[in-house]
């Protein structure tokens, strides 16, 4: 008994020799954002922001940028190691950025390497940068006022209102799933600030060069999922706008004849409050109803155009194909791909203004 115990204890200690590798917190470089761009002659340029610990001072982390130009992605890390004072670790990565040019060539190879790494979380953000990813990296490294990674924070708080959820996990889901395409946030640098330009549209892993404008991100989110935040400004008539504060938005897909000639009707119901009403009278119930009708029409028009644009480009960011599959027995995926561009899709929006705020 005693011998057995000793053996267990001994093996517990001895097994640490088999490569238990430690990463002591202050002895590693924590990569925070990584960016990839195309470089000359089929090469890629990787750049990364790392936080550098500064002992003694509280709550201030220095940031440094490392860049390298190589053929493969992991090699970028090797190259960076050659100039880094300590080993670079990816466990705290919060965002991976891809330059526009690279994204148009397809990004899966550069996503795959992070998919395989167990140290990397599944909840980090991927994004496309209008222009060069390196620019964002450079801006990011200068933002030191508060702790935290700006790129991550910007995407994080916008994904409650204007962006669909775009983590590594959901990208892989939409990429690997049949009859659907991923979307990623599109970032840009404007006057030394990182800014969301819109939602970049993908065909499989390739950026098609088109995007949904940031303001219309709310509309895309209305179609994609149920959510409870966000503001949308609808134009009622010339010089009069109404800002609708979303209280609850629900979407329902009705699908007919998935394997034959499918018909899709998307029903969205937005319960909202009036945040701002410029040049609009909201005193009587009938006026409110009229405004509701008017804004419904505006939204429907925009959404119809958006869906049409998806069909014209033969992309499916709403995962319509997958929704049809889930409601059709013996779904014929091949047939769907053939008819997708011509499927009649009807968007029906129901706006209900449940609060008008404090008036008079």
């Amino acid at each position: 008994m005693m011998g057995k115990m000793l053996l267990v204890l001994l093996s517990f200690v001895m097994l640490t020799g088999c490569g238990v590798q430690d990463h002591i917190l202050e002895d590693v470089l924590l990569a925070e954002v990584v960016g990839y761009d195309t470089a000359e002659a089929d090469k890629i340029k990787g750049s990364t922001v790392v936080s550098v610990s500064q002992s003694g001072e509280k709550s201030s982390m220095g940031k440094e940028v490392y860049t390298a130009v190589t053929h493969t992605d992991k090699n970028v890390r090797q190259q960076i190691e050659s100039e880094a004072p300590r080993s670079l670790v990816g466990g705290r990565l919060s965002a991976i950025l891809y330059g526009e040019k690279l994204a148009r060539k397809g990004i899966y190879d550069y996503v795959d390497t992070y998919r395989r790494d167990p140290a990397v979380g599944r909840d980090l953000y991927l994004a496309v940068v209008s222009g060069k990813a390196e620019d964002i990296i450079n801006v990011e490294s200068k933002m030191l006022k508060t702790p935290g990674v700006k790129t991550e924070e910007i995407i994080d708080h916008n994904s409650k209102t204007h962006l669909p959820e775009t983590s590594l996990h959901s990208f892989l889901y939409y990429y690997s799933g049949k009859n659907m395409d991923p979307v990623l946030p599109l970032l840009e640098v404007e006057q030394n600030h990182i800014k969301i330009k819109g939602i970049a549209l993908f065909k499989d892993d390739t950026y098609i060069g088109k995007y949904i404008k940031y303001e219309d991100g709310f509309l895309f989110k209305v179609l994609l999922e149920n959510f409870k935040k966000g503001v949308y400004e609808a134009r009622i008539k010339e010089h009069s706008y109404i800002a609708i504060d979303n209280i609850s938005s629900r979407v329902k897909y009705e699908i007919k004849d998935g394997n034959g000639s499918p018909e899709i009707s998307i029903k969205a119901k937005i319960k909202g409050g009036v945040l701002e009403a410029r040049n609009i009278e909201l005193k009587s119930q009938s006026a409110v109803t009229a405004i509701e009708k008017k804004s419904e029409k505006t939204l429907e028009k925009k959404l119809d155009r958006m869906v049409k644009m998806f069909q014209d480009n033969n992309i499916d960011p709403l995962a319509l194909g997958d929704r049809v599959r889930s409601q059709t027995r013996n779904f014929d995926s091949k047939h769907w791909e053939d008819v997708y561009r011509t499927v009649p899709i009807k968007v029906d929006v129901d706006v209900e203004l449940v609060q008008q705020g404090i008036t008079d």
Binding site: H23, L25, G91, R92, G121, G148
Partner: protein, 507 residues
């Protein structure tokens, strides 16, 4: 290993028979008296005059007043001629006349006075008049409570039994007495309430105590260790308490109480791990408050065991899991420290243990100063010198504080010790190591028993009924049954009331 053994044969030690064990009395009366007279405090004199009675006793354990007022006057005034007449004359109970050497030796050594008529006659009259010094009953110190009784046990077994008996004035409260210890002849009492207690528990206790073979039983902690189910466990398997109210309440639940003469603590058993998180003043406050306090204690203990281990694991292996807002603070405080986290943690835990040990050994007044000086001065200095990080300093100080929230002193020692295996395994394998270590301790606890009853009850085996008084305490109206773990012969604590009709508003 044979190589290292010397070939020389050591002759076996002579078995020393001269040690006067209680079971081996002297050969004859002369020899016994010779042994007595070897001690300077043994008095032997002729009274009232030469060739009259011989009176002899150990003056250090006999009450002189009793001898002067009750024994000597009888010899002078009544002029008895036989021991029988003396016996009738002396107004003291339990006087015996004996020529059994063992009886004589036992009686003399516990404070009896020997009276002989003829020195050659080995028949002796033994008058018990022991006087023993004892402390006044004082306030409980290790189990202090703000409300509730303020009595604590003292070193005298009679006083202690008195404290219990006056709380439970029923003849069913019964007591068995056993003497243990070859030299110390310690009196050990086993108390229980007949009709409630499971006789099997009583038998187990009595059997284990009678099986003890040791020279001197100085304190109850000796007994607690000797009769434990698993003597190699770090977990205490009996609750020792200095509160008579806790003892009485344990007895009424169906527990067995062990009292040792000379020890101001008593043992109750069988015990489960939840009892160690139960302070007796939990019953003095309403059940909501008591439940919250108990849960706080449980979390405090978990925190105390795990906090430094998790700190080491996270800073050494799992930099991913630190919240982003905490990271700069943590790195800034770790940055100045030249040691890896494990050394840092060991240094700090070591310091805290030093303070604790020094505080416990030194006299109260100095001890307090040491605690404050050590805590504040050494702590601040260590951080400023860059020996430890202030995050860890805070964690360790909290952990030390948390380990004192347990009401039973013995378990707080356990918590203090089992932190170190967790710390080391955190260094070896990170959080996986902490999990492995936790699994090891859980396995150990699952196997552990107290007087043959499962230690982890009511969690495993799950006995939902016993949860009513474990990590939470339900109101007294729900405490109608005694704990199932005690297998009581009569389990109801009160007459079940007939259900009241719900009052209608029309009535």
């Amino acid at each position: 290993m044979k190589f290292f053994k010397s070939e020389k044969k050591v002759p076996p030690l002579q078995h020393d028979t001269s040690i006067p064990y209680a079971e081996v009395p002297a050969k004859d009366f002369e020899e016994l008296f010779k042994k007595f007279k070897a001690s300077a405090d043994f008095l032997s004199f002729q009274y009232p005059s030469e060739a009259a009675f011989t009176v002899s006793y150990f003056k250090s354990i006999v009450g002189p007043d009793q001898v002067h007022q009750e024994i000597l006057p009888v010899l002078t005034q009544q002029h008895p001629s036989t021991l029988e007449e003396v016996k009738n004359g002396i107004p003291v109970e339990n006087i015996i006349i004996s020529n059994d050497l063992k009886v004589i030796q036992d009686a003399v050594m516990t404070g009896s006075v020997i009276i002989q008529i003829n020195p050659d006659n080995s028949h002796c009259l033994l008058v018990p008049c022991a006087s023993s010094e004892k402390r006044q009953i004082s306030i409980p110190e290790t189990e202090f409570s703000v409300v509730g009784p303020k009595e604590a046990f003292v070193e005298s077994i009679e006083t202690n039994i008195n404290l219990i008996r006056k709380r439970l004035p029923v003849p069913e409260l019964q007591m068995k007495e056993i003497k243990v210890g070859r030299i110390s002849q310690t009196r050990i009492a086993v108390l229980y309430i007949d009709g409630i207690v499971d006789q099997e528990n009583v038998q187990t206790v009595i059997q284990r105590i009678s099986d003890i073979d040791y020279d001197a039983i100085v304190d109850i902690s000796f007994i607690a260790q000797m009769i434990a189910d698993n003597q190699n466990s770090v977990f205490p398997q009996f609750i020792d308490t200095e509160r008579p109210d806790r003892a009485a309440s344990g007895l009424s639940e169906g527990k067995v109480v062990i009292i040792v003469d000379g020890s101001p603590q008593i043992l109750t058993g069988p015990t489960t791990i939840t009892n160690f998180f139960t302070a007796f003043d939990d019953y003095f406050v309403t059940w909501h408050i008591a439940s919250v306090f108990r849960l706080i204690r449980v979390f405090a203990v978990l925190f105390s065991i795990m906090s430094t281990a998790i700190y080491v694991a996270v800073t050494t292996y799992h930099y991913q899991s630190i919240p982003a807002d905490l990271l700069p603070t943590l790195i800034a405080s770790r940055g100045a420290v030249p040691f890896p986290p494990i050394l840092e943690a060991l240094v700090l835990e070591g310091t805290i243990e030093l303070l604790r040990e020094a505080g416990a050994r030194l006299p109260t007044k100095v001890g307090q100063t040491i605690g404050i000086v050590g805590g504040i001065v050494i702590g601040t200095a260590a951080v400023q010198a860059g020996f430890v990080s202030n995050v860890l300093l805070m964690l360790t100080a909290l952990a030390a504080l948390a380990s004192f929230t347990t009401p039973i002193y013995q378990i707080s020692n356990t918590i203090r010790i089992i932190r170190f295996p967790f710390l080391l395994s955190a260094q070896l394998y990170g959080l996986l190591g902490v999990a492995i270590c936790a699994a090891f301790f859980v396995c150990h606890l699952l196997k552990l028993t107290s007087l043959g009853r499962p230690y982890l009850e009511p969690i495993f085996p799950l006995r939902v009924k016993d949860l009513k008084d474990s990590f939470i305490r339900l109101p007294f109206s729900s405490q109608t049954q005694r704990p199932e773990i005690l297998r009581t012969e009569y389990s109801s604590r009160m007459q079940p009331k007939p259900k009241e009709d719900s009052r209608d508003i029309d009535e």
